[in-house]
């Protein structure tokens, strides 16, 4: 017996990967030879600089990238996000102060902000009592007196505009495995809400009520309930038809169940408690603001690993889409935020849509949301209409990820774990972009949500990141 590869090829016949012309695969299959078809596309969309960077990384990296990535994936999968309480932003969020406005996505200057983002900033300033009217708020925002920063720079995440100001109540989620925390505001519901850029009286009244009534009551109930292990809850909701981003009905229901016995025990007027329960019940997306900081603290634990190409942040601010790699901490790679391809609420069309916005894509970064599309048959119309389309979306994501979740499993895929740990190299090599579910904001501030759909991140951010990675690790 010879072990030479050519001998076994002759003896066993071809078992072929076919890259290119499909008819060659069909012929082999017809002749009874095992074959797998590669639906080949030019790597990196034919971008020669990115291809060269990939090749350099493959041939002369100065670090063990695979080991670094394995560690990054291990940390994401080992995360134990736990809701430990509700606090006030200025008391708990690192670096928060009265004249700081945090927003979703990579950093963006006031002058470059999109309509919904500007509206939300104005609403936040009014909420803080720093301005009385929209016009005043606008002038203040432009005055240079207000500091703006990315939520991500303060261990926080925010849906859509993601505006967080000093007096807002926030969820505190701690990653019990690594000790790091993440923060997120409480979800306001649908319609005219701050995160879609509305800032009028209705919005102000709700924000005040949330600060003065909702948050204290929930905080009290949570204290009685004790910390909530989010891994367990998310694992459950993925088996109840949620994917962890665009559909939150099961998650919100579960949270109500978890809190209800304790809510009724809170020392507050019955009417107030009832209003809290009614608010939760009317807001399917209430759970999203718990999933997001859970995902955030999970991926944050994997940030800053020398030599890792795992993506630890994806975020949009309505103007730009940005990502960060574990091995290049502190660096954003950004590109223009795209127009969302989606379905619109009655009365709205694509012409009404703002560009892609929000930190909620942190869910995809951690391996759920669009990556778990196969778990959410109720919203398959966003990805083509049939459950098979949803399964395809998730299956594609396994091609750009390095691991599979032990906890989050998808019934339709025979309880296979969700694809986790996005490798920027694979994204660039295959041209398969992360599948991202998202809501669509109206382009004008104050109108609200006009639809939901799928967004395609700009390809250049992944290529730029890989080129920068090659410069750093494969000179």
């Amino acid at each position: 017996m010879s072990a030479r590869p050519i001998d076994s090829l002759f003896a066993e016949g071809p078992k072929a990967l076919n890259l290119g012309l499909e008819k060659f695969a069909a012929a082999l299959a017809r002749e009874g030879a095992p074959v797998a078809q590669v639906e080949w596309k030019p790597p990196a969309g034919g971008d020669v600089r990115a291809i060269a960077a990939l090749d350099r990384i493959a041939s002369r990296a100065t670090v063990d990238i695979d080991a670094a990535n394995a560690e990054a994936v291990r940390r994401i999968l080992a995360a134990k996000p736990t809701v430990i309480g509700i606090g006030v932003a200025k008391d708990v969020v690192p670096g928060m102060h009265r004249k700081l406005v945090l927003h979703a996505g990579p950093p963006v200057a006031w002058k470059d902000m999109s309509g919904p983002m500007r509206g939300a900033v104005m609403g936040g300033l009014i909420h803080e009592g720093l301005a009385k009217t929209g016009a005043e708020a606008e002038a203040l925002a432009a005055s240079g007196e207000i500091e703006f920063d990315s939520c991500h720079h303060h261990d926080s995440v925010g849906p859509m505009a993601g505006v967080m100001t000093a007096s807002m109540p926030v969820w505190i989620v701690e990653n019990k495995a690594f000790g790091n925390r993440a923060y997120c505001t409480l979800n306001e519901g649908l319609g005219k809400v701050l995160r879609y850029g509305a800032y009028g009286d209705e919005v102000q009244e709700r924000l005040s009520w949330m600060r003065d009534s909702l948050a204290p009551i929930l905080a009290e109930a949570l204290k009685m309930r004790g910390p909530i292990d989010m891994t367990t809850v998310i694992a459950q909701v993925l088996q109840m038809g949620d994917e962890g981003h665009n559909r939150n009905r099961a998650g919100t229901s579960t949270i109500i169940r978890e809190l209800a016995p304790h809510l009724v025990m809170v020392d507050a007027p019955k009417a107030d408690i009832s209003k809290v329960l009614a608010f939760l019940n009317a807001n399917d997306h209430f759970f999203l603001n718990l999933t997001m900081p859970s995902a955030k603290c999970a991926v944050d634990a994997a940030a800053g690993i020398e030599g890792s190409t795992v993506i630890t942040t994806m975020a949009r601010n309505g103007t730009e889409f940005g990502i960060k790699l574990s091995g290049l901490p502190g660096r954003w790679f950004t590109g223009p935020a795209s127009v969302v391809e989606g379905l619109y609420l009655p009365g709205y069309t694509a012409a009404d849509a703002a560009r892609d916005i929000g930190d909620s894509v942190i869910t995809e970064t951690s391996g759920i949301g669009g990556f778990a599309m196969a778990a959410a048959p109720a919203i398959v119309k966003f990805v083509g209409g049939s459950p098979a389309d949803a399964i395809d979306v998730t299956l594609r994501m396994y091609e750009i990820t390095l691991g599979e979740s032990e906890q989050y499993r998808i019934p339709a895929l025979d309880f296979r774990g969700t694809p986790t740990g996005i490798d920027a190299r694979k994204v660039v090599e295959t041209g398969i972009l992360p599948a991202i579910n998202t809501g669509i904001a109206h382009r004008e501030p104050g109108v609200g949500m006009v639809g939901a759909g799928l967004v395609k991140p700009p390809e250049n951010v992944f290529r730029d990141a890989i080129i920068a990675f090659a410069e750093r690790y494969a000179k």
Binding site: F10, L17, E22, G32, W40, P43
Partner: protein, 546 residues
């Protein structure tokens, strides 16, 4: 009325798109159409053709090689609208059935993903655009896979580097520009379905390999493996036969292989010696045919030298059947050569004279129109030796290279698979329309005395190459008849009974249309030469009579 549409991130391979473009151009109201990927070359081409911003081409500026570009030139706006819709329909619809047929095998978006689905894969077949083929090949070799590169336009430097890497890993790198191979009885790319047997073939690539494997099959013997090494493997000194030598070594060890058959254009001198030495050392009986060498080298058992593809196949088949010692082989070789000569001579002159007698005055030249490059070469050498002054785009004598390969002059054998004809157009083996147009041209030429054709079957080739050519043949013959002449057509069919198109059915279609079908390309060429000779004699005689 020009119109442009860019579809981001929709990759299709070029052969597929060329066929779609052709279908689109045939639609009503369409003057011109290009459906192509947004490569820099294609974008330049569109600009040259006058497609600009006015037609919606502003999107072109941002188009990349992964984006589909549809450009149409139509009679009016309505037709343009319809044409664009049809283009999208063509590309998406055609992806449909293929994707459905794909249920039979797994598919993935990347080689790494496919490898997860077929973890014991041992070979990567690469037919992606040449600019990317080398990279994919390197990645495959690094994954421990043997590689067949069907793609052309891979640089010599890349080929050398890849083959060194392959040799260092003991992996077979077939190609680049390798059209055909048979591994473990399975046809790869453009290969025929031949029976399995003891003959192991090493060839540059393409129709030379197809012809010998089919002839071996027809001789009642079979093929163990057929390795395509790429046109430069033996020819270029720097490549030095790296793949051929590894393949020979493998076949010498392969228990199924009893006889080796090596077919190539003349190798670099040092490389030829290495090949012959490797065969001699390996010890299994071997047949070598270096296409185009004027003098056949002397046999030195166990290595024998053939003077044609037909002889090479016949000798290999004879050795597979003959006794195992040198004396038996020498006897078999001698007997085979005698038999081939007899067969070639049998009735040839008579039938040729009968055909030639029907020619009109002025009909004097042989015109060979080939889809296969190596068989075109074989015909060219035969015709050049017999008739002299045969022009071709493949001529090694610069004085006899066709000034314009699109126009025949005197005796002409043209390789229609040459790059000149295939830039932006499908290869004539896939799509016979270019050759059909040329058949009509030759039919119009009053000097054409005989048409010589190859009809290539097998996977990859047109579904019905004979059938698709009949109309053009009939029309060319009618044109000759209308002038009071007659146009003999001679063809050989490269294929087997097990090929999807079926040898017998294809040959029968040609014969029913009055085509003389010969059992090999060599015999077809000899027959055409005989007619040309008879035509020359006839026209001298007739000229004399006038």
């Amino acid at each position: 009325m020009k119109r442009i549409l860019v579809r981001k991130d929709a990759y299709y391979d070029s052969v597929f798109l060329m066929l779609a473009s052709r279908e689109l151009e045939a639609a009503d109201g369409v003057n011109g159409a290009i459906v192509a990927m947004g490569t820099p070359m294609n974008l330049e081409l569109l600009a040259e053709l006058g497609y600009g911003v006015a037609e919606g081409g502003e999107a072109l500026a941002g188009a990349g090689p992964g984006d589909l570009v549809v450009a149409v030139d139509c009679a009016d706006a309505a037709a343009a609208e319809k044409a664009v819709a049809l283009a999208i329909d063509l590309v998406t619809r055609k992806k449909g059935p293929a994707a459905q047929a794909g249920q039979a095998y797994p598919r993935a978006a990347s080689a790494a993903g496919a490898l997860k689905l077929l973890p014991d894969a041992n070979l990567a077949v690469i037919s992606v655009p040449g600019a990317y083929a080398a990279r994919e090949a390197r990645l495959a070799l690094e994954r421990g896979l043997h590689v067949m590169i069907f793609s052309d336009n891979v640089s010599l430097e890349d080929e050398i580097e890849l083959k060194k890497l392959a040799v260092s890993k003991g992996l077979l790198l077939m190609g680049p520009d390798c059209g055909t191979a048979i591994i473990g009885g399975k046809p790869l790319c453009f290969a025929n379905v031949v029976s399995r047997g003891p003959v192991g073939i090493v060839a540059a690539s393409g129709t030379g390999l197809q012809e010998v494997s089919c002839l071996v099959d027809r001789a009642g013997v079979g093929v163990s493996q057929a390795i395509g090494c790429g046109g430069r493997d033996l020819k270029n000194e720097k490549v030095g036969g790296m793949t051929s030598l590894l393949a020979i070594e493998g076949l010498e060890r392969d228990p199924e292989t009893k006889v080796l058959l090596v077919v190539s254009k003349p190798p670099a001198p040092g490389t030829a010696a290495k090949v012959v030495a490797a065969l001699a050392e390996g010890g299994k009986p071997a047949v070598v045919y270096f296409l185009g060498l004027k003098e056949r080298s002397a046999d030195a058992d166990p290595v024998y030298h053939a003077a044609s593809l037909e002889e090479a196949a016949a000798l290999a088949a004879a050795f597979a059947k003959s006794g195992a010692d040198g004396a038996a082989r020498m006897a078999a070789a001698a007997a085979t050569r005698v038999r081939l000569d007899a067969e070639a001579a049998q009735g040839l002159g008579e039938i040729a004279a009968r055909e030639a007698a029907r020619l009109g005055p002025g009909q004097q030249f042989l015109r060979g129109l080939y889809a296969g490059g190596t068989v075109a070469d074989e015909a060219l050498f035969i015709a050049d030796a017999e008739l002299g002054q045969v022009r071709s785009n493949n001529q090694t004598d610069p004085a006899l290279v066709l000034a314009d390969p699109r126009k025949s002059e005197g005796h002409t054998i043209v390789d229609l698979g040459d790059d000149v004809f295939t830039v932006g157009k499908p290869h004539p083996m896939i799509d016979p329309s270019q050759r059909n147009a040329r058949i009509l041209e030759e039919g119009k030429d009053p000097e054409t005395a005989v048409l010589l054709l190859d009809v290539v079957l097998g996977y990859g080739s047109h579904d019905d190459p004979a059938g698709a050519t009949l109309e053009a043949i009939a029309e060319a013959r009618a044109a000759a008849a209308a002038r009071g002449g007659y146009l003999p057509v001679v063809a050989s069919v490269i294929g087997t009974g097990a090929d999807p198109q079926g040898y017998a059915a294809q040959a029968a279609k040609l014969e029913a249309a009055g085509v003389v079908v010969m059992p090999s390309n060599r015999r077809a060429a000899l027959f055409a030469v005989e007619i040309a000779k008879a035509a020359a004699r006839g026209s001298t005689a007739k000229g004399g009579a006038r």
